[in-house]
Amino acid sequence: MPDIRRTVDAVWRIESARIVATLAKMTGDVGLAEDLAQEALVDALTQWPESGVPQNAGAWLTAVAKRKAIDGWRRRERLDERYRAIAHDLEEAGDDEWQPIDDDLLRLVFTACHPVLSREAQVALTLRVVGGLSTEEIARVLLVPVATLQQRIVRAKKTLSAAQVPFESPDPAEWRERLSAVLGVIYLIFTEGYAATSGDRWIRTELAHEALRLGRVLAGLLPREPEVHGLVALMEFQASRFAARVDPDGSPILLADQNRSRWNRAQIERGRAALRAADAVGRGRATYGLQAAIAECHATAGSVEVTDWQRIVLLYEALGRFAPSPVVELNRAVAVSMATGPANALRIVDRLDSDGALRGSHLLPSVRGELLAQLGRVDEAKSELLTAAGLTANERESAVLRAKAAAL
């Protein structure tokens, strides 16, 4: 006999987003919907050990939660239209006939990432209502105290309610911006997990995998949106390097020094498939698709030397037109140095420098130092590398930069 609590948790993880979406559609309130679904879950925990897990557990939980909604309204004597509609619905449909609607799940995703919420709140609510993670799980993977996370979710629900955010997908005028916010939340969840290199990295890997799962869910809901597939592709390529990007002590290993035989080939293939799905839509590549294409160049190259740097330069140029940023420009410079040598790259970096871009960041002086070293301008190179070492907050990185300067 499996532990019932863990079985219920598993059912919850699979079904909860669709249950909450269905209830939110009926009540118009994501916070209330989530509370009702949680109450139904408590009922399940008390009843299922006796009765066994029902055949269609999602339908069971949804029906129980709907009854709770009606009971709540009855207590407050709010016997309005909504009540009548749901009561009618409950009488008409048996428990097993419930079929969740994809559109409701999509509305749920957009509501959890609504612009009235802060980024932190969007992340927490998305993991909670779309991902089906418990408050404790979210707190653990985000490395914040449970109480803090609990408060964040309560506040998020209250904010949605206070702002009277309708349970709707955005209209065409807002679509692009709102979709980009959803993609941003998912990618932020991914990078939170991906960036971890210390002892907690296995926990954080879970977070990155959760982001990938959310990305795939969204790709299923919006198959005609190339950027959703592009984001999934980008995450798959980056995640394929998990095993190779830190050494046994937890120090990060640069892309150039990673053992490529440890890159996950199956994951790279999934990334390529997602990129093909993005291209198949026929609307070209935008920021995620282009970043994924760059990641694909690395993922499919046997070594730094045989990497198609010319193509990477072109992709960075395209990315820079979509989303101009000094970081993209700096990355383009690195690619240019690999493709056509350090002199051309230095011109790009010097232009960034004279524009005052990335001031206070170690990125620009560390790249500039590398290029100067390659050009044999040793004194200037040393000075740039030491400047960079002084600017980075990461001690390991700082040590690497100082060692490089000393070795010149």
């Binding site: 863990r6 079985t7 993880r13 795939r216 869910v217 095993a243 020094d257």
Partner: protein, 144 residues
């Protein structure tokens, strides 16, 4: 965590399968696959052709021996697999339990190794090899 759902069928299930309308099988499997895709958990999955087309490579002798057809006296054949991403053993069991399979069929569910399983083997020869390989790379980079 990744889990592999390995489909196995005995003679009874194989006979039942051969009598079932193939379109019906396609629809049932299609719906099952779609539900896992929509949940974002399906990573891979393949069905295998008839075991008669297969062959066995046996390592009992000094030199591996190849024989045509299914494995020896086995009356339970592997027919296909899925790889899914699940947060717990119970979630994997829940998905496995939803597969459209009948009497005589079984799903063996096995967790796929991930990197954390090898963390304690930092002293392993190959892990060390990798470290020295990295040193070489670093030395080469400095020589450039």
């Amino acid at each position: 965590m990744k889990y592999m759902l390995i489909m196995r069928a005995n003679d009874e299930a194989t006979a039942a399968y051969e009598e079932t309308d193939f379109e019906q099988v396609l629809n049932a499997m299609g719906a099952y696959n779609e539900s896992m895709m929509k949940a974002g958990v399906l990573l891979a999955g393949e069905g295998l052709t008839d075991a008669k087309e297969g062959f066995v490579v046996d390592f009992s002798a000094e030199k591996p021996i190849v024989t045509d057809g299914p494995y020896g006296e086995t009356h339970e054949l592997f027919n296909g697999f899925w790889i899914i991403e699940a947060s717990s053993k119970e979630e994997a069991a829940e998905w496995a339990g939803r597969a459209p399979l009948g009497p005589g069929s079984k799903l063996e569910v096995r967790r796929v190794h991930d990197d954390s399983d090898f963390e304690e083997f930092a002293d392993n020869e190959y892990v060390k090899k990798e470290a020295s390989w990295r040193e070489e790379q670093a030395a080469r980079a400095q020589g450039n």
